[in-house]
């Protein structure tokens, strides 16, 4: 049923669907220009990279818990390997997991389906974006296996360490690494153009700006943030590559360069980047919560304005990463103020989400558990950020495990919890089958409980003065006493990783044995649920018309508790 490809909607199509007449394996799965297939490609690539990033976390956490021992499936973790592992763990999780899955996979899959059009505005550009992204992943993987090993200067790659081979000792690894990162940025720059233009220009008849589902808005705002922030960093990456290989001295203080320049270029991108991945996850949470609480999103417009507010403010806070980096101390005051101000739209957004539950009819299915966990856990990330934004307190916390625990409490809800919420929620639409809810719940608890057991102890270690990126803490007299805390965190990690196999099993088992989902298994109101599951090429036989906002649940005087966007009165 899914294979009904309606050429009709593409008649006179100028979008460049040049090959939907004979769909071979190659044209369907590899060189497809269909937004759904490209979304899947991003999703599977991202999940594959998550396995690598997770495996790296396993290897270096084992080293921390049992210093100098043979780590099963890895071996001895040398200091050089340790640095390469943490560097690439961080880079992979952010650039090759959070970005591709949250923005590219969900953006591609959802935007046309949720705004009621047949594809992205520039499908070929879309395919190019994935191909460049894939290339970037290959270059990154290659950087681990070259002579002298992968780059080990942390995902922030501060020069001069990253800029000179005599300091980093990884001549090939560091050049491949920065090349991979630059390619990845180019891929997302291309992809973002598509998301913004499609959402703004291709909406179904009747869909006004306030009728756009929140997740689409948030992906659009995230894409704009990305496009507005990435320029300086691409320039920086090219400068860094030239410093490494062509003898320039942009960041070399001995020849008139300035290492701090990189930090400004990096964090002018790096801080908005947090919101680039945060917003799509927050949007997914909104969709899932409304469906499973059978509630209208509380104060839709407020959420939208706080999204814009967060986006604008995110460009004003970058130097809070540089409080103690040797910049003029008076700058700290400005960035303390902006950083604390950004807590306001974010706190407001969280209050709105909590208020959305009020008066609901809450069903705790797997996707809803993930969405609720997003809020519960992200709150911890949010409040601990205040300690770091307050300059005086950051003097102590900067670069400790407190920071590490803080940003994992934001990134884990974003990149893992948010993604699971999205995947379990839209799985029926993507594949036309239901996932097993019991296995889903086992996986949920098997992830959430160990997750907290990993990172709460790391807050404690940070408070005790343990710094980041050090491969054996037992050699510090004041830190040696906390070894059992490190063992506890590591054992929790191993347990959590093992539970991920429950998800993988459920994912593939349900593809074969899941029960048929039908078009709208969750009784949802947004447009993607008005076409068959999975949607064919072109998405609808006849494109929908929109009559109302996205979250009309429990509207008084109607017998059904949901009122789809495309249903005429």
């Amino acid at each position: 049923m899914a294979e009904t490809i309606d050429v009709g909607t593409h008649a006179g199509d100028d979008h460049g669907h040049d090959h939907h007449h004979e769909e071979t394996f190659w044209s369907k799965y590899v060189f497809s220009t269909d937004h759904k297939m490209i979304g899947m490609q991003y999703m599977f690539t991202g999940m594959f990279m998550a396995l690598i990033g997770g495996f790296f976390a396993y290897a270096f956490r084992m080293q921390l818990a049992f210093p100098g021992m043979d780590v099963p499936f890895w071996g001895i973790v040398t200091p050089a390997e340790y640095n390469a592992l943490i560097t690439n763990h961080g880079a992979i999780m952010i650039f090759w997991v959070a970005m591709p899955v949250l923005i590219a996979a969900f953006g591609n899959f959802l935007i046309p389906l949720m705004i009621g059009c047949d594809d992205m505005v520039f499908p070929k550009l879309n395919r190019l974006s994935y191909q460049i992204f894939l290339l970037s992943a290959v270059v990154l993987l290659a950087s681990f296996v070259v002579e002298n090993g992968g780059f080990g200067g942390a995902w922030t790659s501060y020069p001069p360490l990253s800029a000179k081979h005599e300091y980093s000792l990884t001549p090939l690894g560091s050049s491949l690494w920065i090349t991979a990162v630059a390619l990845e940025f180019v891929a997302f720059l291309i992809g973002g153009i598509n998301f913004v233009t499609t959402a703004m220009n291709s909406r179904a008849p009747g869909m006004k700006l306030y009728d756009i589902p929140m997740v689409v808005w948030m992906i659009v705002v995230a894409s704009i943030l990305f496009m507005a922030s990435v320029g300086p960093l691409i320039a920086g990456a090219i400068m860094l590559f030239m410093d490494q290989n062509l003898g320039t001295h942009f960041f070399d203080p001995n020849a008139g360069g300035d290492p701090i320049l990189w930090q400004h270029l990096f964090w002018f991108f790096g801080h908005p980047e947090v919101y680039v991945v945060l917003l799509p996850a927050t949007g997914i949470t909104a969709e899932v919560m409304c469906v499973f609480a059978r509630k209208k999103l509380f104060a839709y417009r407020t959420v939208l304005y706080t999204t814009f507010g967060t986006g604008v403010l995110s460009f004003t806070v970058w130097a809070h990463h540089q409080f103690i980096a040797g910049i003029d101390p008076r700058m700290a005051h400005v960035f303390t103020i902006t950083t604390l101000l950004i807590s306001i739209p974010i706190a407001e957004m969280m209050f709105v989400y909590i208020a959305t539950l009020y008066g609901g009819d809450i069903r705790l299915k797997t996707p809803m558990l993930w969405a609720l966990a997003f809020i519960a856990e992200f709150l911890i990330g949010g409040v601990t950020g205040i300690f770091l934004g307050a300059s005086g307190a950051d003097i102590y916390f900067h670069d400790t495990y407190f920071v590490l625990a803080h940003f994992h409490y934001t990134f884990f809800p974003i990149a893992i919890i948010g993604v699971y919420a999205g995947v379990t929620f839209w799985y029926p639409k993507m594949f036309g089958k239901m996932m097993n809810d019991t296995l889903g719940k086992i996986h949920f608890w098997g992830t959430i409980i160990p997750f907290n057991c990993i990172f709460i102890p790391l807050f404690v270690l940070g408070a005790a003065g343990q710094h980041r990126r050090i491969h054996d803490f037992t050699q510090y007299p004041e830190l040696a006493q906390y070894q059992d805390v490190r063992v506890f965190a590591t054992v929790s990690l191993v347990i959590m990783l093992l539970f991920q196999f429950v998800f993988i099993y459920n994912f593939f088992m349900s593809l074969r044995k899941g029960k048929d989902a039908g078009p709208n298994p969750w009784n949802s109101t947004t447009l993607e649920w008005t076409t068959e599951s999975p949607p064919g090429h072109g998405n609808w036989k006849e494109l929908p018309t929109v009559y109302r906002g996205p979250y009309e649940y429990q509207v008084p005087g109607r017998d059904k508790d949901f009122w789809p966007q495309n249903e005429p009165n």
Binding site: P79, P159, T336, Y358, I362
Partner: protein, 229 residues
Amino acid sequence: MIERYLEQVSTYAGDIDGLINLIAWFVGVWFLVAEFVFFYLIFKFRHREGHKGEYITGEEKHQKRFITIPHFLVLVCDIFIIIGAVRVWVDVKQTLPPADATVRIIGQQWAWSFVHPGPDGELDTADDIKTVESLNTEVGKVYHFQLESRDVLHDFSVPVFRLKQDAIPGRIISGWWKATKTGEWDIQCAEICGIGHGVMRARIKVQSAAEHASWMHENSPVASIASAN
């Protein structure tokens, strides 16, 4: 919070801990209230047969109050936190009290070296004492430091002082501390600086006046001349 894990050994350690405690109270209360309301609502509005949910837009003024009031209160908390942060920052990083002594601290892959002024109290004279991986200081004295790096970024961090400062090649960065008790503690490098970053450790020794003076005389390359003067 922090003092439960680590001693306070500098004059400003207590101020930084105080700020951290202040923030902990503010955000702790918000966190607990938010999580409590959140779980309470999940429980209260869980699905029950024959029970229908309500239609609430959240767009009306009396509904929005539930957002705008807490939101305003968050702003008030933010202002207190900003004031606290600025006060601590100005004392620790911005205005340096007059120095009793100045030391030079040099980071390089992968060791800390230190230049002590020696018995004459001046840097860059013949009686300077150079050490590696151990910094000797006197209790109760205001020390200024001049932080340098020979190669990449490093970060001079003394957790018991609550002090941390990046070392940047090409710059000399100043800062200060005044230790409040004698003893010996960890110095860590807090900025990744290459393969040996994890072993770039040192110890800070805070000595009594008498102990420190005798250490100086024993170690100064020209101690005999200095004491003869």
